[in-house]
Amino acid sequence: MDAQTIIARRIALELRDGMLVNLGIGIPTLVASYVPPGVHIFFQSENGLIGTGPIPQEGLAQARLTDAGGRPVSAIPGASTFDSAMSFGLIRGGHVDVTVLGGLQVDENGKLANWMIPGKMVPGMGGAMDLVSGAKRVIVAMQHTAKGKPKLVRRCTLPLTSARAVDLVVTELAVIAFPGGRATLVETAPGVSVQQVLAATETELTVAPEVLPMKI
């Protein structure tokens, strides 16, 4: 199983029936494919849609029904559409149960940097700052390292997305939670030891009394 699939499958298990969920682009988008059978999730697309469905079959795309990247999507029966003020009211107002976002860095207290690399990549924050500030629960989906460098760091060197800490980080190696505001290793992926996770992490991780195997 590749890294992205491990991450997406694990995060899908965090979703509960009836939740309103916003998925960012990249790995987070894959989470929708692994929702357990019988669990109905309302997926929000921040351009103004609740009830986002799979990418339509060729020839069935509708030019006015798109995701936040402008790509055609489908809408499931029971979907609703609205303007951008309501879409961000849903986000900022605490109506979104879970948001899953990509990450560039997460610090030891759970602060996230995911929207720019000064001088290199300045795409704009889009909806990321509102999502992290407003969603009830923030889950970061990211690879554990980038080009061999840890992404779980003591302090973010990149600009923060929000002052609010995230709730959970899921990588291909581990699940990290933040009880009491401290980065804590709670699960390891199949075949991965606690030592391997610690070695790939810059943050001094607290190791939970019982580190569970990551369910995927």
Partner: protein, 216 residues
């Protein structure tokens, strides 16, 4: 009272140096005919306010490519490399605003408010130079209203009085910018007789619309 107007005459009313709010999200819900006519008439030094700058060859991206834009105010420019290039080269000013803050600043202008208080951006670079106000123990940024000379709106249906509806995710910024500009120019996919849009379905009431671009 709304006037029906030719495309050429509608755009002729926009002077060089004007500020334009443009509906659309990655070009979905952008009045492409109006954008094309802005390019044809070569309007210069425009300030363009919109969610994003789409892609080269689509929506606001066409204005950027034609060097008609002095300043962009948007939440995301990451999918248009030309915008990033012009920004980094200092040829075009870009103000990046979190998406939920951008739409609320526009809404504040249209709804007669002196600004909005948002938690989004607190503790990030977005708070620089802004007033922070504490309400019930939580910190907020004061974000000021944003208005424009023109709103360029794409509707799905318009009746001959100017009542509008929007379709699916093409709604996005459109109904909000229709409240926040001195002059509102609308292009609609279909123009229908008065009464065809039931009162409950009107998303932008007729008195807000100044010009409807004729389909002829």
């Amino acid at each position: 009272m709304m006037q029906t107007i030719t495309l050429e005459d509608a755009v002729a009313r926009i002077q060089d140096g004007a500020s334009l709010m443009v509906g659309g999200f990655m070009g979905v819900g952008t009045p492409e005919r109006v954008v094309d006519e802005l390019v044809r008439q070569g309007k210069r030094d425009l300030t363009v306010i919109g969610n994003d700058t789409a892609l080269p060859g689509i929506g606001i991206g066409k204005l950027v490519s034609a060097n008609l834009v002095r300043k962009v105010i948007a939440s995301h420019i990451g999918l248009n490399p030309e915008t990033q290039k012009k920004m980094l080269a200092g040829e075009m000013e870009v103000e990046l605003v979190p998406q939920g803050t951008l739409i609320e600043r526009i809404r504040a202008a249209g709804y007669g408010l002196g600004g909005i208080l948002t938690p989004t951006g607190v503790g990030t670079v977005v708070e620089e130079g802004k007033r922070k106000i504490e309400v019930d123990g939580r910190e907020y940024l004061l974000e000021v209203p944003l208005r424009a000379d023109f709103a360029l709106v794409q509707a799905f249906l318009a009746d001959y009085l100017g009542n509008l509806t929007y379709a699916l995710t093409a709604r996005n910024f459109n109904p909000v910018i229709a409240m926040a500009a001195a002059t509102v120019i609308v292009d609609a996919e279909h123009v229908v007789p008065v009464g065809m849009i039931p009162p409950d379905n009107v998303m932008t009431p007729a008195p807000l619309v100044d010009y409807l671009v004729s389909r002829a």
